[in-house]
C-alpha cells in the first residue's frame, strides 16, 4: 500500500470527487437509457459532440466558454434527431443508424480538431481518455475556498440530472415502460425522449472536457446494468446505480494508484481504471446477485436435482415394496436402478432415515409407514400423469414414462385431484399398474 502513502486530500480527494460526480451524473439518466434499450445512445452522443466542441472552439478560441458547451449539447441532441431520421427514412434499424450518425460526426470532429491543432491547444487524446489527473490545475475561488472548476461543473450537472429524474420520475418511468400509454395520457413520449437526450448530452459534454469520454460512456451503461440485476423497483435501481457509480469511481482512483505498483509500474489512467472497476463490479454482481446471479442459479438447479433424486429414491423403494411387501433394498440396488451417484444416494437415504421415511437395517433400507405414504403420493402422481397423457393427450404408451417421471415432482395434492377428475378416476395406469389411492 506504499503507493497510497502519497495520498493527498487536496489532490486525490478532488480527483475522486470529480470522478464520483461524473459517474453519478451519468448513471442517473443511464437507467432510463438501459430500460429503453438504447444504452448505446449515451455512447453515440458522447462521441458525436466532438464536432460541436470543435466548431465552438474554433469560433470562440477558448476551452471553457458557454458557447462551446451549448454547441456541443446541440450537436449531441442532433445525434438523437439524426438517428431517428435515418431509422425512419433509411429503413435501417436503430443500432445501424446510430452507428452511421455518431461515427460520421465523431470523424468530422476529429478532422476539425487535427486541422485546428496547429494553432490551438486541444488534444484529441486528452479528450478521449480524460485528464482527471489535472483536476486541481484549474481552481476557482468560491466563497473563500479553492475548488477545481471541473468539480463545480460536474456538481452542477449532477444536481440538474437529479432534479430532472426526481421531478419527472413518473413521466420518465411511464414513457420508458409504455410509450404508447404515456402519449395517450398526455405525457408525450417524444418530449420525454428529448428531455432525456438533453440531460444525456449535457452530462456527456461536461464530462468530455474534464474527465474524458471513456468514463462517462461506461457510467451511462454499467452501473444501471449492475443495479438492474440487484433490484426489482425503478426507484431502488436508480439509487443502487448511483451508489455503484460512486463506489466504482472511488475504487477506480485507489486502484489506479495501487494496482500498477504491484507490477512495478507507476500509476495508470484514473478514469480508465474507474470504468474498469465498474466493469469488474458488474461481473461480480452477475456472478453473485441474490436473484439473477449465476451462482445462485447453479445452486438452485443443484438443490432441485437433489430433491428430485431424493424423491426418486423413495418412489423406487415404494415400487419394490409393491412387488414384495416389506422389502429391504441395499443402496447398490437403488443406485443401479436410478443410475445415480453412490455418495449422493447414500446421503439422501440417510436423510430419509433421519426423517423416519425408512429404517436402516444391516442389509439396506426398508420403507416405514410415513415413507410409504410419501412414495404412494409420488407414484400416484406418476401414474395419473401417464393415464392423463394417454387418455387426454393421445400420447403413445411407450412415450409417456419420461414425461411423467418429470411431472411427478411438481404435482401437489390439488393437481392430482384435478388429474383424477379429468381422467375419470382410473384404477390402473396405461401399463396396468394400480394407481395408489390418495
Amino acid at each position: 500500500m506504499s503507493a497510497l502513502s502519497n495520498w493527498s486530500w487536496d489532490y486525490d480527494g478532488w480527483i475522486v470527487l470529480a470522478g464520483i460526480l461524473c459517474a453519478v451524473a451519468a448513471s442517473l439518466p443511464g437507467n432510463f437509457l438501459l430500460l429503453r434499450r438504447m444504452s448505446l445512445l449515451g455512447d453515440a452522443i458522447s462521441h458525436a459532440i466532438l464536432p460541436g466542441l470543435a466548431v465552438a472552439f474554433l469560433i470562440t478560441g477558448s476551452r471553457s466558454s458557454l458557447p462551446m458547451f451549448l454547441g456541443a449539447v446541440i450537436v449531441g441532441l442532433l445525434t438523437a434527431v439524426f438517428t431517428e431520421w435515418i431509422r425512419n427514412f433509411g429503413e435501417v434499424d436503430e443500432g445501424a443508424s446510430m452507428g452511421v450518425v455518431f461515427t460520421t460526426l465523431f470523424a468530422l470532429g476529429l478532422v476539425m480538431i487535427v486541422q485546428a491543432a496547429d494553432h490551438v491547444d486541444l488534444d484529441p487524446g486528452c479528450v478521449l481518455y480524460g485528464s482527471l489527473e489535472t483536476t486541481t490545475f484549474d481552481m476557482v475561488n468560491v466563497a473563500g475556498t479553492e475548488i477545481p472548476r471541473v468539480v463545480l461543473v460536474l456538481a452542477a450537472v449532477t444536481v440538474i440530472n437529479l432534479v430532472v429524474v426526481v421531478l419527472f420520475f413518473k413521466e420518465l418511468k411511464l414513457s420508458a415502460f409504455d410509450p404508447a400509454l404515456a402519449t395517450t395520457c398526455g405525457i408525450s413520449a417524444r418530449l420525454m425522449h428529448y428531455l432525456l437526450m438533453i440531460i444525456v448530452a449535457v452530462t456527456a459534454v461536461a464530462s468530455f472536457e474534464s474527465v474524458g469520454n471513456i468514463l462517462v460512456v461506461a457510467m451511462f451503461v454499467v452501473p444501471p446494468a449492475t443495479a438492474f440485476l440487484l433490484t426489482e423497483r425503478l426507484r431502488s435501481m436508480i439509487i443502487v446505480s448511483a451508489l455503484i457509480a460512486a463506489v466504482s469511481a472511488t475504487l477506480g482512483h485507489v486502484s489506479a494508484l495501487v494496482v500498477p505498483s504491484w507490477f512495478g509500474y507507476r500509476s495508470t489512467s484514473t478514469s480508465g481504471m474507474m470504468a474498469l472497476c465498474a466493469g469488474i463490479l458488474f461481473f461480480a454482481v452477475s456472478l453473485f446477485a441474490p436473484q439473477h446471479g449465476v451462482l445462485i442459479r447453479i445452486l438452485r438447479r443443484q438443490r432441485l436435482s437433489r430433491r428430485i433424486l431424493s424423491e426418486d429414491l423413495i418412489a423406487l423403494l415404494y415400487r419394490m415394496d409393491e412387488r414384495k411387501s416389506g422389502v429391504v433394498a441395499s443402496i447398490d440396488q437403488l443406485r443401479a436402478a436410478l443410475l445415480s451417484g453412490g455418495l449422493m444416494s447414500s446421503l439422501l437415504m440417510k436423510q430419509h432415515a433421519r426423517k423416519g421415511h425408512v429404517i436402516a437395517t444391516a442389509n439396506g433400507y426398508q420403507l416405514t409407514d410415513s415413507g410409504r405414504r410419501l412414495g404412494a403420493e409420488l407414484v400416484r402422481s406418476h401414474r395419473l400423469w401417464e393415464q392423463y397423457l394417454v387418455s387426454e393427450g393421445g400420447v403413445a404408451v411407450d412415450r409417456i414414462h419420461g414425461q411423467a417421471e418429470q411431472l411427478e415432482h411438481f404435482t401437489g395434492r390439488e393437481l392430482r385431484d384435478r388429474l383424477q377428475q379429468e381422467t375419470s378416476a382410473p384404477v390402473l395406469d396405461p401399463h396396468g399398474s394400480p394407481i395408489p389411492p390418495e
Partner: protein, 264 residues
C-alpha cells in the same frame, strides 16, 4: 322527428371515423375506413392478420400518422377528448422485466390525471389496488411484473384501464393467449363496463366467441368489409369476404408504385 335536438346526434357518438387511411411507405395499411360507434356498445373488431386492426386503434389515438381522414371522439378531436379514452395495448408491446410492481403498472393509468411532476399519492394507490381486486389479482399487487403469468399480465392491463375511468376503451387483443379463467373474468368486466355506459372496442381473434361477447362487430381487412349488429353482420358471407379476398389488385398497384420509386 322532434326539432328539439340541441346537438346533431352525430356529436354524441363515442367514435366517428370518416375516410381514414393510414399508409406505411405509400402502402396503405388501412384504407378509406368509415365507422360510427353508438354509446354503451361492446364492439368486436375482427379480421385476418395484417388487416390493420392494431393500426386502426392506434390511428384513432394519433399514435400513428394518418394519410387522410377525420376522427371525432364524443364530437371532438382526439386531442381534446383524450382523457375520455382508455387504451389497452397488446401485452407483448411492453417489457415485462421492467423493474416495477404490479400496483405501479396499474397506477400508471392515473398518471394523466395526477398531472406533470406531481407525486403519486396514497389515494391513487388505493384506487389502483381496488381495480386490481376487481380483476381478481389483488394479492399480487406488490409482486414484480416479471413474476406474472400471461393471464395475470392481461388482468393487470385491464385494471390499469379501469382506473383510467374513461368513457371509450380501445383494447388490442385482450384475450390473446390467456387462460380460460382470465378470459371469463375479462368478459365479466367488459359486461360490467357496458352496464356502466362505457363503450368498448376490442380487437378479437376467436371467431367462435364473437356472437357471445359482442353487440356489434367491425369486419376489417384494410377497409371495413361490414359493420353493424353482430346478428346481422357476423355472417358466413361477410366472413368469407373479410378473410378471403384482400384487395390484391390494390396491393399490386402500390407495389408497382414502390418499385417505380426505387428504380427512378
Amino acid at each position: 322527428m322532434s326539432g328539439s335536438i340541441a346537438q346533431p346526434p352525430n356529436n354524441t357518438l363515442p367514435l366517428s371515423v370518416r375516410d381514414l387511411t393510414v399508409a406505411w411507405y405509400r402502402k396503405p395499411v388501412i384504407w378509406d375506413v368509415g365507422l360510427d360507434v353508438t354509446p354503451g356498445q361492446l364492439v368486436g373488431v375482427i379480421g385476418p392478420n395484417g388487416a390493420g386492426k392494431s393500426t386502426f386503434l392506434k390511428a384513432i389515438m394519433d399514435l400513428v400518422p394518418r394519410a387522410s381522414g377525420r376522427i371525432e371522439i364524443f364530437g371532438q378531436s382526439y386531442k381534446r377528448s383524450r382523457h375520455r379514452v382508455g387504451y389497452v395495448p397488446q401485452r407483448e408491446s411492453v417489457d415485462w422485466d421492467f423493474p416495477v410492481s404490479v400496483l405501479d403498472v396499474v397506477t400508471m393509468g392515473l398518471y394523466g390525471k395526477i398531472g406533470w411532476c406531481m407525486p403519486v399519492r396514497r389515494h391513487h394507490r388505493e384506487a389502483a389496488l381496488r381495480a386490481l381486486e376487481r380483476v381478481g389479482i389483488g394479492e399480487f399487487a406488490n409482486r414484480q411484473i416479471s413474476q406474472l403469468s400471461g393471464g395475470q399480465q392481461q388482468r393487470t392491463f385491464l385494471a390499469r384501464a379501469l382506473v383510467q375511468d374513461a368513457d371509450l376503451y380501445l383494447m388490442d387483443e385482450p384475450f390473446a393467449a390467456v387462460d380460460a379463467a382470465t378470459e371469463k373474468a375479462i368478459v365479466q368486466i367488459l359486461r360490467e363496463m357496458k352496464q356502466a355506459g362505457k363503450t368498448t372496442i376490442v380487437i378479437h381473434h376467436d371467431l367462435h366467441t364473437v356472437p357471445e361477447y359482442f353487440d356489434s362487430v367491425v369486419l376489417l381487412n384494410m377497409r371495413v368489409v361490414a359493420s353493424g349488429p353482430t346478428e346481422t353482420v357476423f355472417t358466413r358471407d361477410n366472413l368469407e369476404k373479410t378473410y378471403g379476398g384482400r384487395l390484391t389488385l390494390l396491393d399490386e398497384a402500390t407495389e408497382a408504385m414502390r418499385r417505380r420509386e426505387r428504380t427512378l
